[in-house]
Symmetry: C2
DNA sequence: TACTTAACTTAACAGTGTTAAGTATCGGAG
DNA sequence: CTCCGATACTTAACACTGTTAAGTTAAGTA
């Protein structure tokens, strides 16, 4: 089965060729620069050729983000080594923040765009949900559960899921506000690092026992 | 000067006619449903007629949001009556959250969309910046300054602006995540009210002295 | 009455995502 | 070796989008 495999491989090659061209436009000029025609120009194919490999533009972007977010979740594998759960939580927050600032286009598409807009069709992610190695939310969940089991949270906090969501919300707030409004001179913005660090520290102080 | 004034008034009338049609589409079907042609259909004019009253689509949307956000800031005038600054802060947070959920389209355009996308031209807001009656940020600033002056914040917090931005970030995080990802079944979302309230309480506990 | 200008309309341009229809190439079956 | 059908494309077109150039109409003014 020589030619059969070769065709399969060639198909995969052109798929990643499209994906890479789309990614380059996506990260360098933002999602609105990713047009089917511009991708096609970049790889020297006709625009319609892309539709042979991806259902539509949405599917292409979804796969792109899926792939890059799996890589993101893997960043946490190093952090997982940190013994102290509080320090681990701190480090996870910092890693999350870093990723958001380094990949604003991805961040925006994944967390700042209503699903109704991105996913008209029933999008199916290939990320292994619940597996902390591929799912950053699950990773955070693990830390929080450990902290709660050890009685480190204030007594009125008994819901792991709620605590996770509150922490995520706060950190997401700093990142998304930075991405959306960093160039806005309405506000006398303090340095991003200070905002991020203070937010993490304050939310930790609010959640943990003294 | 009869006819002159009448023309002026008529001009203002068609302006608000356009604005109202745009708002209806905007709030009921989201910003992507606001097309010049759909607005034109609604008011039974040709699409190009709109350009006589607004520079372009962006200017139209900017004016729409500006106008509605002034109304939003005025909600705080009632809250300004609350004597205890902590209670006032709590109420302000709740009001902010309410507005976001009631006006997701406005919220998204104002706080979740990078300025580079909305404002290609130099947009000039007509909101009186720094005036707490028209500027919600300034209102929050006032509360935080009062709390800090009264020594209610933890000693390491000495920067009013930073504290304001941390509080805003946290609350914005809950609201924006709800708007963007409420339909996402990846996460076992706790009720929004619980998330909002817990976030506000935790951030207060983190910032204030015990 | 003649002129100007404000307030439009129609037609068109350049761009978008997407699809229908046609074409060439190539692996495998008879 | 030939023919067939699938694969991987291309070209042309459709239905949208924001926006503009040019033409029209009505009203106020001199």
């Amino acid at each position: 089965m020589g030619p059969r495999e070769r065709r399969e491989r060639e198909r995969e090659e052109i798929r990643t060729l499209i994906l890479d061209a789309a990614r380059e436009l996506f990260v360098s000029e933002g999602v609105e620069s990713v047009t089917m025609r511009r991708i096609a120009d970049k790889i020297e194919y006709s625009p319609t050729a892309i539709y042979f490999h991806f259902k539509d533009k949405e599917a292409l972007l979804a796969e792109l983000c899926d792939c890059d977010f799996r890589a993101f979740a893997q960043r946490f594998n190093v952090i997982a080594q940190i013994a102290d759960p509080v320090e681990r939580l701190r480090a996870a927050g910092a890693a999350y923040v870093d990723f958001g600032l380094e990949n604003p286009s991805h961040y925006r598409l994944m967390f700042m765009t209503p699903k109704a807009i991105t996913a008209k069709t029933t999008e199916v992610s290939t990320i292994d949900k619940g597996n902390p190695e591929e799912d950053a939310y699950a990773f955070l969940q693990g830390i929080v559960a450990e902290l709660m089991a050890k009685g480190r949270f204030r007594d009125e906090l008994t819901d792991v899921e709620l605590a996770v969501q509150v922490i995520w919300s706060a950190v997401h707030g700093v990142v998304s506000l930075e991405i959306a409004k960093c160039t806005d001179d309405w506000v006398a913005w303090r340095p991003f690092a200070a905002r991020a660090q203070t937010t993490i520290e304050m939310i930790l102080r609010g959640l943990l026992k003294e």
